[in-house]
C-alpha cells in the first residue's frame, strides 16, 4: 500500500493537526517509509489468535459510580482553570464557535 497526499490530508484533519502543503509532502514520504516496515505484519498467520491488550490479560477495574469529590467552594476549579490559556468567571474561553 501507499498513502496518497489526499489521504495524509484526511488523516491530519481527523487528528486536528494543521499541515502546510510542504509538510503533507514530507509526511507522506515518511509515513510510507514507516508503513513499509509495518507491512511485514500482513504476512503473519494470526488465525485463531486473540488480540492482546494487556500483558496479564487483566481487565480494567471499575470503581463504584458515585461522586468522590465535591468542589464546594470552587478551589479545585480555580486551581485547574489557572492552567488554562484563557478562563474567566469559572468558564473556559474559546474562539467563536458559530457565526
Amino acid at each position: 500500500m501507499s498513502l496518497t497526499i489526499l489521504e495524509v490530508e484526511r488523516i491530519a484533519r481527523l487528528a486536528r493537526l494543521e499541515v502546510t502543503p510542504a509538510e503533507v509532502e514530507i509526511s507522506c514520504q515518511q509515513l510510507n517509509g514507516i508503513f513499509s516496515l509495518i507491512e511485514a505484519l500482513k504476512a503473519v498467520d494470526t488465525a485463531g489468535i486473540e488480540p492482546m491488550a494487556h500483558a496479564q490479560d487483566a481487565c480494567l477495574r471499575l470503581r463504584a459510580d458515585e461522586v468522590i469529590y465535591r468542589d464546594e467552594d470552587g478551589t479545585a476549579r480555580a486551581l485547574f482553570q489557572s492552567l488554562a490559556p484563557e478562563a474567566e468567571n469559572g468558564l473556559y474561553l474559546v474562539p467563536k464557535v458559530i457565526e
Binding site: 481527523l14 487528528a15 500482513k42 494487556h54 500483558a55 477495574r61 492552567l83 474559546v94
Partner: protein, 489 residues
C-alpha cells in the same frame, strides 16, 4: 560523597556525617556548574529542593526516616509533581505547572522521603530513542558530548552518569530506560507492566508505558524500585499484588541458574564489539555457576512493526486531550474553535509526535482498525508466547540491550526506519509486559559503554536484580566513570 552508593549515603545521613540539605547542595552545585554542558535538567528549583531536604533532615532527626530518606533524586519530566513545571519535553506543556503529584512522586518523595533535585530532559512525550526530539534540545552523553545519551529517559541517564544525581526515575515503553542506561554505562530496570503506578505519569502508549529506575548499580535500583512500586487503585492497569522487597534476593548464589541466549539477539544487526562484550559477560556468568541454554524468539523481528502500530495508536488517542483550551499551549490569533485545535496542536507538538499521531489516527480509522490495530495486537500475543515458551527452558534471557553503542547527535535523524529498528532488542519486552534491565558489560573501541540486557519472567524483578548484582560483584564495569565529569571528588 557524590560517588557513594545509596546504602553508603543512607548510612552517612543516619550517622549525621552529612545532612540532607548539605547533600542536596553538593548536587545542586554540580548541576549549576555542569548541566549547561549536558542539558540533562529541564527544571531546577533550589528553593523547593532545600525545603524538601530540610523536611528530610527533620525526619532523620526524629528517627522516623526510612532507608531512602534524605537521598536526592532526579525525576523524569513526565512525572507530575505538584508545584513543579512538568513539560514532558514538549512546547505543548512548556508552562504547565502540575496541580497534583504522580503516584511515583508521592511514594518516593512524600513517603520514602527522597529529595527531588529537579525534572530531567526526555524525548518529547517519551517518543524517541536519542533524546533529540525534546523541545528543550538534545541531551549530551557524559562519555562523549558529541554522542546522544539515548532516550527517551536520556536526561535521567546523563544526570546519573555525570553524578548530577545519585539516581533518577525513568519510564520505558519500548526501551526508554534500558537503552539510555546502556548508552551511559548505568543500570536501569523496567519492571513488569502494572507494577509501578502510571497515575500522574503523562501517558504515551498506555499498554506499554511503565515507570522504573536508572542508577549506578542493580542494588541501588532494587532499593528505589521497592519504594516506587505497589498497587494503586487510581491506575486501572495497576496489578493488585502485595508490596515486595526487591533487594531480598541480593547475594544469593547463581549456581544452577539457567540463562537463555536467543539466537535472534546475536544476529547480523548487532555490532561485533557489542556482541563480543556480551559474550564475555556470558563467560563470567558460567564462572558464577550459571548454565547456558539456547532459546529462540522466532517472532521477535516483528516487534518493531507491531510497536509502530500499537504505540502510535495509543499515543494518538492519549494526546487528543491536548486541545489548546483547558491547559497547555494555545496558538495566538485563532479565528474559530477549529483553528484553536489545529493550530495549537500543530505549533505545540514537534515533528516526531505529529508523525506518530498521524500513524495512530490512520491505523485506528474506519476500515483500517482490523487490518492494522487488531492485527498488531494478535502478533503481539505471538511475541509474548515466544517468551512464555523460552521461560520453560530458562530462568532469565540474556542479550545486548542495543545493537550499537551511543551514536552521534544528528547521525540518525534523517533515517527514521533505521532509528526505529535500533530498539529491536528492547521493544519485545514491553510488548510482552515482562521485566527487563540493562547493566554495563564493557566498552567499545571509542570508549563508549556497552549494555547487557537481562529479561525475566513476570514478577521476577528480585531475581533479575540479583542476577545483575552478582555480575556487578564479580566485575567493575558499573564503577567506571566518564573522566570529564567525574575526575574530581
Amino acid at each position: 560523597m557524590i560517588h557513594s552508593d545509596l546504602k553508603t549515603l543512607s548510612r552517612a545521613l543516619k550517622e549525621k556525617q552529612i545532612s540532607s540539605v548539605e547533600l542536596a547542595r553538593l548536587f545542586l552545585e554540580r548541576i549549576a556548574r555542569l548541566n549547561p554542558e549536558l542539558n540533562a535538567f529541564i527544571t531546577v528549583d533550589e528553593e523547593k529542593t532545600l525545603v524538601a531536604a530540610k523536611a528530610a533532615d527533620l525526619r532523620l532527626a526524629s528517627g522516623s526516616a526510612g532507608m531512602l530518606t534524605g537521598i536526592p533524586l532526579a525525576q523524569k519530566d513526565l512525572f507530575c509533581a505538584q508545584g513543579w513545571r512538568t513539560t514532558c519535553g514538549s512546547k505543548m506543556l512548556e508552562n504547565f505547572v502540575s496541580p497534583y503529584d504522580a503516584a511515583v512522586v508521592t511514594k518516593l518523595e512524600h513517603e520514602a522521603g527522597m529529595v527531588s533535585l529537579g525534572k530531567v530532559n526526555m524525548d518529547e512525550f517519551a517518543m524517541g530513542s536519542s533524546n533529540e526530539t525534546s523541545w528543550f534540545g538534545a541531551v549530551k552523553n557524559p562519555w562523549d558530548k558529541t554522542c546522544v545519551s539515548g532516550g527517551s529517559s536520556g536526561g535521567s541517564a546523563a544526570a546519573v552518569a555525570a553524578y548530577l544525581a545519585p539516581v533518577a526515575t525513568g519510564s520505558d515503553s519500548g526501551g526508554s530506560i534500558r537503552q539510555p542506561a546502556a548508552f551511559c554505562g548505568l543500570s536501569g530496570i523496567k519492571p513488569t507492566y502494572g507494577v509501578v503506578s502510571r497515575y500522574g505519569m503523562v501517558a504515551f502508549a498506555s499498554s506499554l508505558d511503565q515507570g522504573g529506575v536508572i542508577a549506578h548499580s542493580a542494588e541501588d535500583c532494587a532499593f528505589v524500585l521497592a519504594a516506587m512500586a505497589g498497587f494503586d487503585e487510581r491506575d486501572s492497569t495497576s496489578l493488585e499484588r502485595p508490596p515486595e522487597d526487591y533487594s531480598r534476593l541480593l547475594g544469593q548464589p547463581l549456581q544452577g541458574l539457567k540463562i537463555g541466549l536467543p539466537q535472534e539477539f546475536f544476529g547480523a544487526g548487532a555490532n561485533a564489539e557489542v556482541v563480543a562484550a556480551v559474550l564475555s559477560a556470558v563467560e563470567e556468568y558460567k564462572r558464577l555457576g550459571a548454565k547456558i541454554v539456547d532459546v529462540t524468539l522466532p517472532n521477535s523481528h516483528l516487534s518493531v512493526p507491531v510497536y509502530y502500530v500499537i504505540a502510535p495508536a495509543e499515543a494518538s488517542s492519549n494526546l487528543s486531550r491536548f486541545d489548546g483550551l483547558r491547559y497547555g499551549y494555545r496558538a495566538p490569533d485563532c479565528n474559530d474553535l477549529r483553528e484553536a485545535y489545529t493550530k495549537s496542536r500543530a505549533q505545540g507538538f514537534g515533528a516526531e509526535v505529529k508523525r506518530r499521531i498521524l500513524i495512530g489516527t490512520y491505523v485506528l480509522s474506519h476500515g483500517y482498525y482490523d487490518a492494522y490495530y487488531l492485527k498488531a495486537q494478535r502478533v503481539r500475543r505471538l511475541i509474548a508466547d515466544d517468551f512464555r515458551r523460552a521461560f520453560q527452558k530458562c530462568d532469565v534471557i540474556l542479550g545486548p540491550t542495543s545493537p550499537t553503542t551511543a551514536f552521534k547527535i544528528g547521525e540518525r535523524s534523517a533515517d527514521l526506519v533505521a532509528l526505529y529498528l535500533s530498539d529491536i532488542y528492547t521493544i519485545a519486552v514491553n510488548l510482552a509486559g515482562l521485566p527487563g534491565l540493562s547493566i554495563p558489560c564493557g566498552f567499545d573501541s571509542n570508549g563508549l559503554p556497552i549494555g547487557l540486557q537481562l529479561i525475566g519472567n513476570y514478577f521476577a524483578e528480585a531475581r533479575l536484580l540479583n542476577v545483575a548484582h552478582r555480575y556487578q560483584e564479580a566485575t567493575d564495569w558499573h564503577t567506571r566513570r566518564p573522566q570529564e565529569f567525574c575526575g574530581e571528588f
